[in-house]
């Protein structure tokens, strides 16, 4: 990696880590109360001011023109302290990437020019691959414009964002297409925020669309191609989030194990506790190596980068689910309580495993693609 690029990344690392410690960690438990507590708009606005939502956009769309490595570093740092903001960055970036794949830079430029964080966000049902489970609307063409109708489940950020990218099927067309919907427009009805396992401050709603006006993104019927190209890259970003949450869990557990006495000594001295902590540390070391390799392959477009990206996500997400469950275990009853953030990490890690589709199905697809 060129030295300049590496320096830039180091700066990003530092900025993201500082932001996470200063802005996310202190109010982690309160922010996680959403929807039974307020939404963390102030933090969101600060993240917006730091251009966290413009990272992967090209300069022509007002962005920073960074690749997956930069996005991954940002996400990993954020998720070490609190994954919800990571989820918001991920969702918006995934929607932006779909629009980029579809050649919709102009629309993206307009969205990125927003004055507030909320207006800059783009909702997307990012926990589902529309080609697997058809969670999509029906689209109708009226002259040059389109309208969408139907129910969509779990559209992430749609309760707080200005716009959402919605998959919909056009009458008499193969496949599906993506449409940009103004969420403040007529015919858009949002449910109450859906109460979820984790990422509670990265909320989702169910959408009911009734002849809602929408702009087609890219070409009709190419939704799956855009989604797949986005997902191929964004598996790496999802893996980074899981790596981050796993590191946060390890740090918390290690600190606790050093200070908690049972059986007349710090529990870290019991070799069974060492074993559990070591299992976590080994996973984290492996995740670091995998992330470095996957980011490099994706950003450089090396042969087989799609596979590396997907394999990184499948493996790191699974490791993170196990590691964060052990992270709770290591703290005993205290780990189960909301006071330490440890139980939240376990929920967040499991929640994130569902990013971009059903985990075991992604595994089957991985082989299918490999032998095709």
């Amino acid at each position: 990696m060129p030295a300049v690029k590496e320096k830039e990344l180091k700066m990003l690392d530092k900025a993201a880590a500082e932001f996470a410690k200063k802005e996310l960690a202190p109010n982690r438990e309160e922010n996680d109360m959403f929807p039974f507590g307020p939404f963390f708009d102030t933090v969101l606005q600060k993240a917006f001011a730091l251009d966290f939502f413009h990272l992967i956009l090209p300069e022509s769309a007002g962005g920073m023109n960074q690749g997956l490595t930069a996005l991954s570093r940002l996400l990993e740092n954020l998720c070490q302290e609190d994954s919800s903001l990571g989820g918001i960055v991920f969702t918006t970036a995934a929607a932006q990437q779909i629009m980029l794949e579809a050649g919709s830079e102009t629309e993206l430029g307009k969205l990125a020019d927003a004055q507030t964080a909320r207006d800059c966000l783009i909702g997307l049902p990012v926990f589902n691959n529309p080609a697997e489970i058809p969670n999509m609307a029906e689209a109708r063409k009226n002259g040059h414009t389109y309208t969408l109708s139907g129910t969509l489940e779990y559209v992430v950020l749609a309760g707080v964002a200005g716009h959402a990218l919605i998959p919909a099927r056009l009458e008499e067309e193969e496949g599906y297409s993506f449409f940009l919907v103004n969420l403040g427009g007529a015919g858009v009805e949002k449910s109450e925020p859906v109460l979820s396992l984790g990422l509670r401050a990265c909320p989702a709603v169910d959408l009911q669309l009734t002849n809602a006006r929408a702009a087609l993104i890219g070409e009709p019927g190419r939704g799956d191609a855009y989604f797949t190209r986005m997902a191929d890259k964004f598996h790496t970003a999802a893996a980074a989030m899981s790596a981050g949450v796993m590191k946060g869990s390890f740090k918390e557990a290690l600190e606790y194990a050093r200070g908690r006495f049972q059986g007349g000594q710090e529990i870290i001295k019991w070799s069974e506790v060492k074993m559990l902590l070591s299992n976590m540390a080994v996973k984290i070391n492996n995740a670091d190596m995998i992330m470095a390799s996957a980011c490099h392959a994706v950003d450089e477009g090396l042969p087989g980068w799609e596979q590396k990206s997907s394999a990184a996500a499948l493996h790191i997400q699974e490791m993170a689910c196990g590691a964060t469950t052990d992270g709770v275990q290591l703290m005993g009853g205290v780990g189960y309580m909301k006071d330490y953030g440890q139980e939240k990490r376990m929920r967040d890690a499991k929640h994130m495993q569902a990013l971009l589709g059903i985990a075991p199905l992604k595994r089957v697809k991985f082989l299918e693609k490999m032998i095709k």
Partner: protein, 503 residues
């Protein structure tokens, strides 16, 4: 052919045949027909209760508790009381309904498969009952259990907790070897006519909902294993108050509480076990603490195993329902072979873990804490004898110190080391096997369900949050592995040491 002594000698080789044949041994001794009949009825009743009470309210209650931290589920407690679940497994001679413990474990599994928190709320009352039983103070048992029965009659639920854990000692309270290395602070000071207790307990399930609390305290916290005592404190007693309700990830319908004791006076009549009462029994002070702790956990861990099976089954059921109703990549998920095999794996986790708690219940009924009620003649007497006709006589018998002495002789002194180990080993094995299965299936269900899995309204995520607790309480699963190791493996080898500090 083999001689008798040869058979005996081969069968006691490791693994001791008695350790691995509990089902067969119990079949030869138990009143099997009556047990089966009763268990079938209880399971059917549990399913009816699930349909009418648990399923309609499980999600709503979980959500409500997230919205309103201090909310207490009194309506559910009333319902469970109305249905008779707080006396169902209390012997009839104490005023209960006298069902067997096999049926209780099946019952717990049923309720837990629909809501772990509600199952815990009912089950933890029997953790409290178990704490009473294991001290074998029949007079105290009689008084408290009769109050529970009265509470049922008069729609004033009377629940019991077991309060062991302290801020500085969790794992250390669960194992006699560790007690003396731990930092125990709940002190009982001898005063005229009783004790004064000072200290606090944390994470006590059902605390805020219960009337009676079995509090483990120590006459000398520097020598806890030799001076441990058990006493009963009633909600409202002077010097006793509740601290906060713990802020948990899951099992929200079952609150966990901090109990605070400041010079709380406990009269002698509510001391269910102390050194004075136990003097004269073989085994010494530390030996008795070990035996009582061991008997308590051998039984309570089977209950937690049943919760674990319930969790594993609940997760399996949600995943199955999703697979039956969801099209994935053009066909129903249930018709993808990989999904079928994940479901088969989940089913196996449920079925094999269930076997572990049944095996544990069998050994407990043959030669553990539960053995008095499984003995065939006693079983029928306890089940059918019209105790209520002769209440005054029965009461006098139960209140006599001779009865307590007989039970203590039988249950504490005449328990062999092998029997103690067999019970402890199976309790631990079932506990960590079934609760690991609960967690495993929760993971699998969420993986299979993807986006639907993370939504509260699709029910699977709640199981994931609820199930994790099972790997922590009644001894972490690490401690339970140690317990199995000691009971089934270590005890055969003189060079084995456990809980040694390493450099």
């Amino acid at each position: 052919m083999l001689s008798r002594s040869e058979i005996q000698s081969f069968l006691t080789e490791h693994p001791d045949f008695d350790d691995i044949s509990n089902g067969m041994r119990s079949a030869a001794r138990f009143p099997n027909k009556a047990l089966l009949k009763e268990t079938r009825k209880v399971v059917a009743l549990a399913r009816k209760f699930n349909k009418e009470v648990v399923i309609p309210h499980a999600l709503e209650l979980d959500r409500k508790k997230q919205e309103e931290h201090d909310y207490l589920p009194w309506e559910f407690v009333q319902k469970a009381n109305e249905w008779g679940f707080f006396t169902m497994w209390i012997p009839r001679f104490f005023g209960g309904r006298g069902c067997s413990f096999h049926s209780m474990f099946y019952f717990i599994e049923e309720i837990a498969s629909q809501c772990l928190a509600m199952a815990n709320l009912i089950g933890v009352h029997y953790l409290g009952a178990g704490a009473l039983f294991c001290a074998w103070n029949i007079r105290v048992c009689n008084e408290i259990f009769r109050e529970v029965a009265e509470g049922e009659k008069h729609e004033a639920p009377c629940l019991i907790t077991a309060a062991t854990t302290e801020p500085g000692a969790g794992t250390d309270c669960e194992e006699t070897e560790l007690l003396d290395k731990g930092t125990l602070t709940c002190r009982a000071t001898r005063v005229d006519g009783g004790y004064r207790i000072n200290g606090s307990k944390i994470f006590i399930s059902n605390g805020h909902l219960s009337t009676w609390h079995n509090v483990v305290c120590y006459e000398d916290p520097e020598r806890p294993s030799e001076t441990a005592m058990l006493c009963l404190v009633k909600t409202g007693a002077d010097g006793f108050s509740f601290g906060r309700q713990e802020n948990k990830m899951g099992q929200l319908a079952c609150p966990a509480s901090e109990l605070i004791f400041r010079d709380c006076f406990v009269p002698d009549r509510y001391v269910s076990m102390n050194n004075l009462q136990m003097s004269g029994l073989r085994g010494g002070e530390k030996g008795k603490t070990r035996e009582i702790l061991s008997q308590f956990f051998s039984a309570s861990r089977l209950g937690v195993a049943a919760f674990g099976v319930g969790a594993a089954r609940g997760a399996y059921q949600k995943a199955l329902r999703f697979a039956l109703n969801t099209e994935v990549s053009g066909k129903l998920l249930i018709n993808h072979q990989w999904a079928q095999n994940i479901l088969a794996e989940m089913y196996k986790n449920v079925a094999s873990s269930r076997l572990s708690y049944i095996e544990g219940a069998d050994v407990n009924g043959i030669e553990g804490m539960l053995r008095p009620v499984y003995n065939k003649p006693l079983f029928y007497i306890f089940k059918y004898y019209p105790f209520h006709w002769m209440k005054p006589i029965v009461n006098r018998m139960l209140e006599s110190s001779l009865t307590t002495r007989i039970f203590r002789k039988l249950q504490l002194e005449w328990m062999t080391e092998d029997q103690l180990n067999r019970n402890a080993g199976w309790g631990a094995l079932a506990k960590f096997m079934a609760t690991d299965a609960g967690m495993k299936n929760s993971h699998l269900a969420l993986e299979l369900m993807g986006q639907a899995g993370v939504r509260h309204d699709r029910e699977a995520e709640k199981i994931f949050r609820d199930a994790k607790l099972l790997q922590i309480y009644e001894g972490t699963n690490q401690l339970n592995r140690q317990c199995l190791f000691e009971s089934f493996i270590g005890r055969h080898y003189p060079q084995v040491r456990v809980y040694e500090h390493e450099s």
